[in-house]
């Protein structure tokens, strides 16, 4: 094998306006090959003692032959991943107004707490007597979430928002089966057309058909259209509140009454709980269950796509069907119920995850809750809503808000303001990259054309919002000045320019293979 480093692929093609450097570096933007391309057999980043005398118990089952992992020393690994990190945008670097994702500051205290050896080194199957602190913490987070939502019960184990949805809809299914004494005859779940894609996907993996409810002209659920769909085939409704248009659903209470009268249950998608935490208890709206993304409202880091956590609060009607495990508090302290056989009168629908849920996220969320307290959390919601309305107010004269305000924690624009400019929502977003911003959420929700959903979050200062607004206004002016070509070419200053997603999908290359390199060397 040829282990020489070939950095030629990091250099731009001749047509680029960028100055060509030897290795493709551009000042502090440092190119970095794949680890497999800096493989140096014999090097290692870990020293291990010799095993000493032992009898192998593997026999013919021992792995023979090379695995193909790259060999690199610690300094090379640190440099490799440091260079990779510098190709990412992050909350730590700037405003990240990605609607419906709640990209708020991630306090480092939370990271420090999650690394306390008393938590990090705890094994999930230790005797309960040795992990009373860990169990108390889970109970503590559960208590906060129940209190803040005004709901009587909670399932802590779901691993993220979509997993929480699965938990909630399975609880609904189990409750219906229980009520009907066999598999429910109710087949449909109603989901607004503005919903996040996970909602219909979740309903489907729980065996329900999805029936879309249209939005009304104000970006809310059309209550009449909803009511017309109600019959004894409806298992429940899934509504995001505040919804994906950034609006509070004013008819929640009425919707809850109607769905209950029809014999169904009310799932609330709590992805946007950040807008109302401390000011509205969703339980007061009449819902039956709601997941809470700890990686949104409660600041646990997104980590480039997880891990998250999605505990689900439950009404009295659904509580008996919560999945194992859960924490109980008895005379001997805290204990876990891990098996249906030990669940007493409860009728758990099953188990959703190995062990007890995303403990590391519970720790971070708890540190966040204690840091803010009940007063701080209410302030969180108010500042999040204030920031979004401020952005909306200062952009509405040049962009086109889709619905009348006030909005909640995010504001929705569509692409009418770009009409006849030749600039698309995508082009506009890519131009933001050159200005040093992560774009807002684009083309979602699906109910408006060319959607741009801006969620500043409460951890942006007024100054950073003013800077953002100035950039947005300038981009709008440039678009209206007929600068469409420049928008179509954007971004030009980022580590990579627009990537060819069609080529990636037509002939997928999903891993490095030595053959690739051999073929290239032959070219």
């Amino acid at each position: 094998m040829n282990h020489s480093r070939d950095l030629s692929r990091n250099r731009p093609a001749a047509a680029s306006a960028d100055p060509e450097t030897v290795h493709g570096h551009r000042g502090l933007q440092l190119e970095e090959p794949l680890l497999f391309e800096i493989d140096n057999p014999g090097a290692t980043g870990v020293d291990l003692p010799a095993p000493g005398e032992f009898t192998s118990r593997l026999g013919t089952m021992e792995r023979r032959g090379g695995i193909g992992l790259p060999s690199v020393s610690e300094p090379e690994v640190v440099r490799h991943f440091t260079r990779l990190s510098q190709k990412n945008y992050a909350i730590d670097m700037g405003t990240y107004p990605l609607g419906s994702c709640t990209m708020k500051h991630n306090p480092r205290l939370n990271e420090k707490m999650a690394r306390l050896p008393g938590f990090a080194a705890a094994h999930p199957l230790q005797p309960e007597s040795t992990v009373q602190g860990a169990l108390e913490l889970i109970d503590g987070v559960a208590g906060w979430l129940k209190e803040l939502t005004g709901m009587p019960a909670i399932a802590m184990s779901p691993g993220a928002g979509a997993h929480g949805e699965l938990c909630g809809v399975m609880a609904i299914r189990a409750a219906l089966d229980d009520r009907e004494g066999g598999p429910t005859t109710r087949r449909r779940i109603l989901v607004p057309d503005s919903a996040h894609g996970t909602n219909p996907a979740t309903a489907a993996v729980c065996g329900f058909a999805v029936d879309a409810i249209p939005s009304d002209g104000r970006g809310r659920v059309d209550v009449k259209a909803f009511a017309d769909k109600l019959d004894d085939d409806v298992a429940g409704i899934m509504i995001t509140n505040p919804n994906t248009c950034g609006l509070f659903e004013p008819d929640m209470v009425e919707i809850a009454e109607l769905i209950h009268e029809a014999g169904g249950y009310f799932y609330c998608d709590g992805a946007n709980f950040n807008a109302i935490v401390g000011r509205v208890r969703p339980g007061d709206l009449g819902i039956d269950c709601m997941h809470i993304n700890l990686h949104k409202t409660f600041s646990t880091p997104h980590g480039g796509g997880g891990p998250g956590a999605g505990p689900v609060v439950l009404s009295d009607a659904l509580a008996p069907f919560a999945p194992v495990p859960w924490v109980v508090h008895g005379e001997d302290g805290f204990a876990l119920v891990e098996h249906a056989d030990d669940a007493g009168d409860a009728k758990p629908f099953g188990r959703l995850k190995g062990f007890h849920g995303q403990m590391g996220m519970f720790i971070r969320a708890y540190a966040y809750m204690l840091s803010h307290g009940r007063d701080g959390l209410r302030q969180v919601a108010e500042d999040a809503v204030l920031n979004a309305n401020y952005v909306m107010a200062r952009l509405s004269d040049v962009m086109t808000p889709s619905f009348e305000g006030p909005c909640m924690h995010e504001c929705l624009f569509d692409d009418r303001f770009l009409k006849d400019t030749g600039v698309s929502t995508l082009d506009f977003a890519k131009a933001m990259l050159d200005e040093g911003y992560h774009p807002m959420t684009m083309y979602f929700p699906l109910v408006v054309h060319g959607a741009m959903l801006i969620e500043p979050t409460e951890t942006e200062s007024k100054r950073s919002l003013d800077d953002f607004i100035a950039v947005m206004r300038d981009l709008v002016a440039r678009a209206k000045d007929g600068d469409a070509e420049a928008f179509a070419a954007a971004p030009t200053t980022t580590p990579r320019r627009r990537l060819d997603e069609t080529a990636a999908a037509r002939s997928p290359v999903l891993r490095w293979t030595p053959e690739d390199r051999t073929a290239e060397a032959a070219e």
Binding site: L34, G45, A121, H123, V253, P307, K353, R374, D375
Partner: protein
């Protein structure tokens, strides 16, 4: 509030700009009956040091695997994580970024995921892997759903070698979509007949290697039996380090491999977050759940990476998606990748053999005790022992003496399921002579 930048002055200036007089005017859509103005039964905000004090007090009430000799495993393992792993994953550019939907400014995460996918494919012996799932147990459930999509059959046989949390999660996810799950009795001797359980309705057989009781088995003939019947073989691995020493599932003919990746880069953390690995054959890639990073070029012809084959996913296919998964275990996958990068080819194999050596030495010692029978002949770093007394009581007693002796069978399978006298014992590179001695002394005394 230290995390909230707005001052009262900012707030009133901003309300003026918006054209309202008070914050309440922005919450007008909330029905009056739902406006909460009461007092929550919760404390007010705290200083950083007050929070730290409170959290440290909770942590100090746990006696963990770092404090005393520990032989716990059963799907979560104690390994040394090099300091640079934790340093790198805490870089804000990794920690505080979102899913890489804007590839131009997310190349770091995307390239790391591409490296992760490659490493997972290599260690499992498969063609292709996704960008991670929540954990091994949920990966296992997704594998069964995928096998159904591929074979259009609706039965799955789950071996008695599979970790009960994995089979329970799989059964739960299958129950409302008409998949029949046949969970076999706990396979204590590693000799169950799975080939005989396959029929023409079987979508897949799910088997764990090393098994939950430690047995390492050659699955080649089972793979042949599956394929002859038109079914898929799904192999579960709960200890990723084993892949450095044990013949890979891919080599034995697996169609889908699901694994728990916690052992590399991630703490036990009382059970989560961990990281699910998911690998398969090229021909099944469009039936995979989860995200995939793929290679392409940018407008200047530079190599780069994007999330690809997204039409399988919920944000495009909605109710027709292969899975509802969205957020997965990105940062845990990164920690896995960094740790495995540090180990490299030789380090990974040496670490695995060191684990095996410690377990082998431990088995020798335990076999010499009265009242202890080591069950598997072939194992990796964990094995089941049969005790002369119920294991749960033994474990509790030893815990009071400062030894975390292992996982009682009843803890996993429930009491009264034929495994009450079974104890799962794991060793790793961190297991010392003294630790083994403490376990042997304790067991001798308790079993005497």
């Amino acid at each position: 509030m230290r995390y909230l930048p707005l001052t009262d002055g900012d707030r009133s200036a901003m309300l003026d700009t918006i054209g309202v007089s008070a914050i309440d005017d922005l919450f007008v859509d909330v029905p009056e009956s739902a406006r909460f103005d009461g007092a929550f039964d919760l404390p007010d905000h705290m200083a950083e040091f007050e929070v730290e004090r409170r959290m440290a007090a909770l942590a100090s009430r746990n006696v963990t695997t770092g404090d005393v000799p520990s032989f716990l495993g059963a799907g979560a393992y104690r390994h040394h994580v090099p300091a640079s792993v934790d340093h790198l994953v805490q870089r804000g550019e990794f920690l505080t970024s979102y899913t890489p939907y804007q590839p131009e400014i997310s190349q770091g995460t995307l390239q790391a995921l591409f490296e992760f996918q490659t490493m997972v494919a290599l260690i499992t012996g498969m063609d292709v892997a996704n960008a991670s799932m929540y954990d091994g147990a949920t990966s296992c459930a997704e594998a069964v759903l995928m096998a159904r999509r591929i074979t259009r059959r609706n039965k799955a046989v789950i071996s008695g070698s599979v970790h009960p949390h994995y089979s329970a999660v799989t059964e739960t996810q299958a129950k409302y979509v008409d998949i029949e799950i046949d969970i076999r009795e706990p396979d204590l001797d590693g000799g169950e007949d799975l080939a005989g359980a396959i029929d023409d309705g079987t979508a897949c057989v799910v088997v764990q290697n090393p098994g939950v009781f430690g047995h390492v088995r050659d699955l080649s003939s089972l793979a042949e039996a599956c394929h002859a019947a038109g079914a898929l073989l799904v192999v579960v691995v709960t200890e990723a380090v084993s892949l450095g020493a044990v013949k890979s599932p891919g080599e034995m003919g697996a169609d889908i491999v699901v694994a728990e990746g916690q052992s590399l880069g991630n703490p036990q953390g009382f059970g989560g977050p961990h990281v699910g690995l998911f690998a398969t054959r090229d021909k099944y890639v469009r039936q995979m759940p989860g995200r995939l990073a793929g290679e392409t070029e940018d407008a200047d012809g530079r190599r780069g990476w994007v999330l690809t084959l997204s039409t399988r996913e919920q944000h495009i296919r909605r109710e027709k998606a292969t899975s509802n998964i969205c957020t997965n275990s990105g940062l845990c996958a990164l920690a896995f990748t960094i740790h495995l990068s540090l180990l490299g080819e030789d380090g990974f194999r040496n670490l695995a053999m060191l684990n095996h050596a410690r377990a082998s030495q431990l088995a020798d010692r335990l076999s010499a005790l009265g009242g202890v029978e080591v069950l598997p002949d072939a194992f990796f770093n964990e094995f089941a022992v049969r005790l002369a007394k119920p294991a749960a009581g033994v474990v509790d007693t030893l815990a009071t003496r400062g030894v975390l002796a292992g996982v009682p069978g009843a803890r996993l399978f429930g009491a009264g399921n034929g495994v009450d006298d079974i104890l799962l014992v794991a060793a790793s590179e961190l297991t010392r002579e003294d630790d083994m001695q403490a376990l042997c002394d304790g067991l001798s005394e308790v079993l005497a």
